[in-house]
């Protein structure tokens, strides 16, 4: 493979990894708050359509992005209401959200299949784009990719360097302790769900506004599920989410190139690659987590938030 091809592949890796990165960060926030949201796939599907429509109607890519994010937050809010107010089962509610989101997206989107929108375009960042290799890979992208470079740092800062993040993590680890300390774990959890949904929505909007510029069904294509798995791979840490997202982005970009190059490997096998990798990565993470536990209490905690998936029962 020529160096140009490799650089192109790596640049495509960043592009393919970006929506997954947004969704993974969103799910990390939600799960850190103690709410498992399996509706990421549905949120991404619906917000990719919402973003497309807003941009299609108004011509504004940024408005499209905002509407996509808002749609994500709204849909996640539905999950929040079911789990926080009515104490519904988080797994069931999340699965229902995915089925609902994907279905609604298909229903609403069918008349627009094949239509295109302007959306976001790539532009070179002055100076940075001229760095050899790195410039071509990282700094000749679109605005949403550049934003995604900041997102992990922002999420880390929010979770570990603000009182909001401290309370949010306490609500996900031990709601009783948060409550005893005078914080409102229900409210913290709800904020986490909404914020997480917003980020997943941005990931969905990226797909239609920057990735394809073209409306078609099945745009989310299982990326939401990959994000849910990546949260475990990332040990619920934003930094590791970046590595995971680009790993998957790489495999997706690679199998596309491989298909385009006319290899005689059946395309359906290639399409499976990301999902096979998901399973491999999960096995790997589980093994890592186990060895970390074996290395005693000083090893960094790689376990899920202690109260993940457990609803807060009302007192009295």
């Amino acid at each position: 493979m020529s160096p140009e091809l490799i650089i192109a592949l790596l640049a495509a890796t960043v592009q393919a990894g970006t929506p997954i990165l947004y969704a993974t960060l969103g799910e990390i926030i939600s799960e850190r708050a103690g709410v498992l949201n399996l509706g990421v796939e549905g949120i991404m599907a619906l917000s990719s359509f919402a973003g497309f429509m807003a941009c299609h109607l108004t011509g504004s890519a940024w408005l499209g992005l905002a509407v996509g994010g808002l749609a994500g937050a709204l849909l996640a809010g539905l999950h929040g209401v079911v789990c926080q107010v009515f104490l519904g089962n988080q797994v069931v509610s999340g699965l229902a959200l995915t089925i609902f989101g994907v279905g609604l997206c298909n229903f609403l989107g069918t008349p627009y299949i094949g239509q295109s929108t302007d959306g976001f375009h790539q532009f070179a960042v002055p100076l940075l784009a001229d760095i050899p290799l790195l410039g071509a890979i990282f700094f000749r992208q679109d605005a949403l990719v550049y934003l995604s470079y900041l997102a992990p740092v922002a999420v880390w800062f929010l979770l570990w360097r603000t009182s909001f993040g401290l309370g949010l993590r306490a609500a996900g680890e031990m709601p009783d302790a948060a409550s005893a300390a005078g914080r409102n774990p229900q409210r913290l959890r709800f904020s986490g769900v909404l914020l997480g949904g917003l980020l997943c929505g941005l990931g969905g909007a990226y797909l239609s506004l920057a990735h394809t510029h073209l409306w078609t069904t099945g745009l989310s294509g299982g990326r939401g599920w990959v994000a849910v798995a990546l949260v475990i791979f990332a040990f619920w840490r934003p930094g590791r989410a970046v590595a995971g997202a680009y790993l998957f982005g790489g495999v997706m970009a690679f199998q596309l190139r491989l298909q385009a190059s006319g290899t005689n490997v059946p395309s359906s096998l290639l399409l499976m690659l990301p999902y096979v990798l998901t399973i491999v990565v999960l096995v790997f993470s589980a093994a890592r987590a186990r060895s970390a536990r074996k290395n005693g209490p000083t090893a960094r905690n790689s376990a899920a938030p202690a109260a993940l998936g457990v609803n807060i029962e009302p007192v009295g």
């Binding site: 603000t162 302790a177 300390a181 005078g182 905690n301």
Partner: protein
């Protein structure tokens, strides 16, 4: 009062003779059981008050009311002379009353500093360095050794307890209540805790120390209030107590309120034989050279203050722990052989202390709870004869007057006494030759207590009963012989009719031979 009260604690303000907290005639009932009966107590700044009592004496209920978890049915609570009614623990904390529970309320995956300052961050953006410094300063001021940057999940129980204390101190609590704080600590950590308690009280904090351990109470408390059966039995200065035995007598009480008919039973064959049983724990010996025999037809009362090896003894006899050193024979077989394949019927039955955890499953109905230990009697191959089990459960409910008399209720829907009668009835269906009953009447009202006693005495006609209890009355009423345990050692083993030895039970329970 200590002269250290004039110390510079700005949170306390001027100290006069007013108690920080006063309980006035506080009564709390749960159904028919009176957990606290007209209790009046004053909690003074700069003093360590120990609240001494057996399990089920009402200590925890009393403190839960102070901490805002229950409201008293009668009487009231005054804080700094003002009447207060707490409806949540948050209000109690705001009034300066903080509680260190046995189960810590800590976020394990966060640092010490984060846990202490949770809810008190003082700004949106956190400054980890400043947070650690705040906590380090607070810890130093009260002599609590802790690394503010350490992850709580990596800490020992003693260190976690210090984090809980720091949380309260940071919230400017004036009254700190400790519920059995040494239960999770090693002896070294216990000593460090006592040092911290003295330190805090010297700085004007009022400390309430709940315990059933006599030596601990005597070594740390300024004043002692003895709680028995929900009443204050006596209140005095620690310096007035002549001996631990004196204290034990006051705590356990000797007045026999109830009598039961006891028919003499001819002792039968040996059912349990323990020889030189020892077990080592992290903080020393849990069981130390224990030897005794138990025959069919007799009740052996194992008496002691909680935590003196009773649990280890019971768990070894009942097959949860393999004996490390020494010999243990059950029904003529050694431990290994007995537990290799022991029969559900005609062998051993156990009535554990933890009624709704070990003895039953809370969310199963009575039929299923019956099947927990007797399923082998109701199975044919892989099939379970549920119709017959339901009939058997119904028989137990009728025979032992288990209220409200419905077998489709789940275990948690029964009161403690009724559940206990059901468990005893179930275990007796196994026709045990050895019955282990652990604190069988703890938390039961008088009627249920009497019923359980009758059942145990009836059982004794066909079995040997190992009765583990902290209640002297119960032990004297039911036992043929009495064994006193202290720190895993047998302090005495004598017939219950031996008046001279019975007189000395209090001293033996306190470790004086």
């Amino acid at each position: 009062m200590r002269n250290s009260l004039d110390l510079h604690d700005p949170d306390i303000g001027p100290v006069d003779v007013l108690p920080l907290v006063r309980l006035a005639g506080v009564t709390k009932r749960f159904g028919h059981v009176v957990a606290n009966d007209c209790i009046s107590l004053s909690i003074m700044p700069g003093r360590i008050k120990a609240l001494l009592g057996e399990n089920g004496a009402g200590k925890s209920t009393l403190m839960a009311m102070l901490a805002g978890r229950f409201m008293p049915d009668e009487g009231h609570i005054e804080v700094a002379g003002k009447r207060m009614a707490f409806s949540s623990s948050r209000q109690a904390i705001a009034a300066g009353i903080g509680m260190v529970y046995q189960h810590f309320m800590l976020v394990e995956d966060m640092s010490v500093a984060e846990n202490v300052l949770l809810g008190q961050e003082g700004g949106f953006v956190l400054d980890p360095k400043a947070m650690r410094a705040t906590v380090a300063e607070l810890a130093a001021r009260f002599g609590l050794a802790i690394d503010p940057a350490a992850r709580v999940g990596d800490l020992s129980m003693g260190e976690r307890q210090r984090v809980e204390i720091l949380k309260l101190l940071h919230r400017k609590s004036h009254v700190l209540i400790f519920d059995e704080p040494t239960a999770v600590l090693t002896p070294g950590e216990t000593e460090a805790l006592f040092e911290a308690l003295r330190n805090m009280s010297a700085q004007g904090k009022a400390i309430v120390f709940i315990s059933h351990k006599l030596e601990e109470v005597l070594s740390v408390a300024d004043e002692i209030a003895v709680l028995r059966k929900g009443r204050i039995e006596g209140e005095f200065l620690a310096s007035e107590v002549s001996s631990p035995a004196d204290l034990a007598r006051r705590m356990v009480g000797r007045d026999v309120l109830l009598t039961v008919e006891r028919e003499p039973v001819e002792p039968g064959p040996l059912v349990l034989s323990v020889r030189n049983l020892s077990m080592q724990g992290a903080g020393g010996a849990l069981l130390d050279d224990v030897s005794f025999d138990l025959r069919q037809g007799e009740v052996l009362g194992v008496l002691g203050v909680g935590g003196n090896g009773q649990q280890q003894l019971v768990e070894t006899v009942c097959g949860l722990i393999r004996p490390e050193s020494g010999q243990l024979d059950l029904l003529g077989h050694n431990w290994d052989k007995f537990y290799e394949h022991h029969d559900w019927d005609g062998a051993l039955a156990w009535v554990p202390e933890d009624r709704s955890g070990l003895a039953t499953c809370r969310a199963l109905d009575l039929t299923d709870n019956l099947l927990l230990t007797t399923r082998e009697g109701f199975s044919r191959g892989i099939w379970l004869d549920r119709a017959r089990a339901r009939k058997a459960a119904q028989e137990i409910v009728l025979a032992h007057n288990v209220q409200p008399g419905r077998i489709d209720l789940q275990a948690w829907q029964l009161s403690g006494g009724n559940l206990q009668k059901f468990v005893l009835g179930r275990e007796m269906r196994r026709h045990p030759r050895l019955l282990v009953a652990e604190q069988p009447t703890q938390g039961l009202d008088i009627a249920a207590t009497e019923a359980v006693w009758q059942l145990l005495l009836k059982a004794r006609q066909s079995t040997g009963v190992l009765l583990v209890t902290g209640d002297l009355t119960e032990a004297l009423l039911l036992s043929d012989r009495i064994l006193v345990l202290y720190r895993g050692r047998v302090m005495g083993l004598f017939p219950a009719s031996d008046k001279a030895q019975v007189e000395r039970i209090g001293s033996m329970m306190a470790g004086l031979s």
